[in-house]
Assembly symmetry: C2
Homo-oligomer: 271 residues x 2
Amino acid sequence: MTFTQMLANAWQKNNSLLCVGLDPDPAKFPTHLHGRDDAIFAFCADIVDATADLVCAFKPQIAYFAARRAEDQLEALIAHIHQNHPGIPVILDAKRGDIGSTAEQYAIEAFERFKADAVTVNPYMGRDSVDPYLAYPDKGVILLCRTSNAGGSDLQFLEVGGNEKLYERVASLSANTWNTTGQIGLVVGATFPAEIARVREIVGDMPLLVPGIGAQGGDIEATVKAGRTANGTGLMINSSRAILYAGKDEHFAAAARRVAEETRDAINLYR
Amino acid sequence: MTFTQMLANAWQKNNSLLCVGLDPDPAKFPTHLHGRDDAIFAFCADIVDATADLVCAFKPQIAYFAARRAEDQLEALIAHIHQNHPGIPVILDAKRGDIGSTAEQYAIEAFERFKADAVTVNPYMGRDSVDPYLAYPDKGVILLCRTSNAGGSDLQFLEVGGNEKLYERVASLSANTWNTTGQIGLVVGATFPAEIARVREIVGDMPLLVPGIGAQGGDIEATVKAGRTANGTGLMINSSRAILYAGKDEHFAAAARRVAEETRDAINLYR
């Protein structure tokens, strides 16, 4: 099954546009996990198992694993999701971007080694830096368009001619030129609802990954109204820290579930 | 010692602007290395030992290690360079780019885990995605500006106002706003000598990492003339495949040394 089909099924089956971001920071783990060699895996797997029926996707952020020499735990985590929660797509948040021959290696990393269903990619190096990921026909490729951080405006908000901004060009290139196979989605931050709406105008029903609610302060109502498609889907609204660290003790997974459920329901109010 | 000082010393001591890129592809290794568990390390370490007196830097490309679950061999390789060839800076070619809290994790990956002296970073997410790397005062941060691939023009060559192109804006932001600590360098592809010259005009003596000679076809004379500073330095001219795979048998390291020496000397003709 392709990433696009998995995502559409998960939207429907779980009645959810919520994506849980897995950004494991051991300093924030409950104390009973401290000192365990597999603490990162154990923490994330508990979060996954507690929330899998509430989400449309999981999004592990590879930097949190790589900083701690824990690629093996990332492999184990993705395998755990595929085995125990089949049908829930895994988006590897890696934001890779390089020339074609190197992008082939990153595609092997994301799709063959980690077995992610989709990967985030940086568009700055252009189409031939994206094509190697598209060579895997079942996989999704989610390009940075308008990111949720303050510095996102430094380049993405520059006008590139005729009132078109750089992020709009990325959206139009993606929708009209690069996305010949229907595998592409875009990252558009929840901190900029007007720009989510603009991207939605440009790209039709393309899936949008929307980080920035929760700890980053984005507004759920504005995000959903700006980004939903006609059938009330089209969005993967990501929350990481607000869910992962909702509880601080051994009941952290139950606390995470409560916040995930509240977030899913808050999103669904505006679909 | 800071990256900038190491680089200046290596330019002088080895009389070289050549950076050897370490993009290890096991399928291209000589047959005597096939099947060895540490083949990637062994291959790269032999290349390093054969060329260390001819270069100003080594640049391992992390995708080639990550695709093969060989982060441990990358750690060992960088440790090998620091131990056996002290003073030669190691640039981790990772092209990371993410929001500040995630960039902090990538900075740990590059500087604390792998112990690189510099890292390549993608500027698409703006200044706050770059700052966490600059928080390591001894380290270098080399931002993508004008990349060597054909698709590089898709975004980087867009006009962002007043005849200024996006890559020129990245250069001017880097030189005039972001580089408050003198740690920043830029990637400018050898396939576009006119644009190397334009970047040099904008950024003064900032170090430029120039990929694209050798297998990618960039011209050495045009590159050096466009990019050298007044004292004949300022460049890290990268060659990877043309050096790594110069020989196909057990004498591959000697063949790599010959090509590296020829390349260094060809560069020096035009300094």
